[in-house]
Amino acid sequence: MSSTTIKILLVQDDELFRLGLRVRLQQEADLEIIAEAEHGETAIELVNQNCFDVVLLDVGLPGIGGIEAYHQIKQEYPNLPVLFLSSHSQKSLITKLVEVGASRLLSQRSSC
């Protein structure tokens, strides 16, 4: 991989969705999935151990949940872009994510 590739951390607890997303993202030459995590706690550990360009973060994670994981990541790395993944399209959730400062929200329903 060239140094210009975008290094991604993929955080999603559904293993099949994670697999599908990995397969699709790997088809892009300038994207590279460096690591995957099932939980927020693991994601925070990985962010501390590696250098990522972007974090793809699911909202509905077990344990600390996506929003708390986001807060903890942003506290340490305020400039690291975090994109939330959610299959829910309720306005209240989206408003909340925008409030906490999500850079972008990607709908899981979008066809790849």
Partner: protein, 294 residues
């Protein structure tokens, strides 16, 4: 014939006509009111029937839809099973991994659909229990062994204790082992999902005079007081306005707690949720004791 005083009791023709007219007006008014009320009642009844029919239609629709979703899933699961057996030719180890992921995911989806169908069936037809003498301790241990696989991954400690007793003891009830096993699994998964790394999940088994009591404690976020009464309602999803640590239903469909309630209530038991003084969550249930066992 002469009737004495006849002239005196004869009402004046005008007065009687007025009375008759008034009576007719009152009767007309009353019958109009009655017709109006009857119409209103009939309208309300029609509305109620339409609503009940809509609810039935919606339930039937969901049930049919769930069944329809199940059919191709069953087909997919059977087809996927043929890959590791190399029925379609040689399979590389990397492919095996992908196929196994797809198979696991489909099994989870199937479980979810089965749960939804069970909930509808239990609501409409009632839960048919296969009753026998059941030891809740054995079920608690079985659930713990099954779910322990989840624990190292999340680094959560899972333990069983017997309240004021220091040793293992049997808790006999008259119950359906399979259904009660689902309750243990559901409540334990719920506790694990809401625990943080390093947290402790504890199953406490106690006996009272007429009840066997099971409590599942987790040291994750406590339950918001306004959610306590609603957690076991059908399809309750919880609120997402506070998010993060205070959100108990962050993950899960909301079906498992309602199904657990259906099962416990079918056993004439009680299921509840509470917070401890230190704001740990407790999900508990109690079932009538089956006497003269062990």
């Amino acid at each position: 014939m002469w009737i004495p005083g006849r002239e005196l009791i004869r009402p004046s023709p005008i007065a009687s006509q007025v009375i008759v007219a008034m009576a007719l007006i009152v009767t007309g008014f009353l019958s109009h009111r009655l017709r109006k009320s009857q119409k209103a009642i009939a309208f309300t009844q029609t509305q109620l029937e339409a609503q009940a029919q809509l609810v039935r239609l919606r339930e039937n629709f969901t049930s049919t839809l769930t069944q329809d979703l199940k059919t191709p899933l069953l087909g997919a699961i059977e087809t996927i099973k043929a890959f590791p057996q190399e029925k379609y030719g040689a399979v590389l180890p990397t492919h095996q991994k992908v196929v196994a992921t797809i198979a696991r995911s489909h099994e989870t989806s199937l479980d979810l659909l089965e749960t939804l169908l069970d909930i509808y069936r239990n609501d409409t037809e009632g839960l048919k229990l296969d009753l026998e003498a059941v030891d809740l301790t054995i079920l608690a241990e079985a659930a713990a062994v099954t779910l322990i696989e989840l624990v190292p991954n999340r680094r959560i400690h899972l333990s069983l204790n017997y309240g004021s007793f220091d040793w293992k003891r049997a808790l006999w009830v008259h119950g359906d082992a399979l259904q009660l096993q689902r309750v243990f699994n559901n409540l334990l998964i719920n506790a694990i999902n809401h625990s943080l790394r390093g947290d402790h999940v504890e199953v406490v088994l106690e006996t009272q005079t007429s009840y066997q009591i099971v409590k599942i404690l987790d040291t994750g976020a406590g339950i918001q007081p306004e959610q306590l009464s609603q957690l076991f309602e059908r399809f309750y999803q919880g609120t997402s306005d506070r998010g993060g640590l205070s959100q108990r239903q962050a993950k899960g469909s909301g079906l498992e707690l309602y199904l657990s309630r259906q099962i416990i209530e079918a056993h004439n038991g009680v299921i509840w949720a509470e917070n401890t003084v230190s704001n740990d969550a407790i999900f508990g249930f109690k079932l009538p004791v089956l006497p003269f066992q062990s």
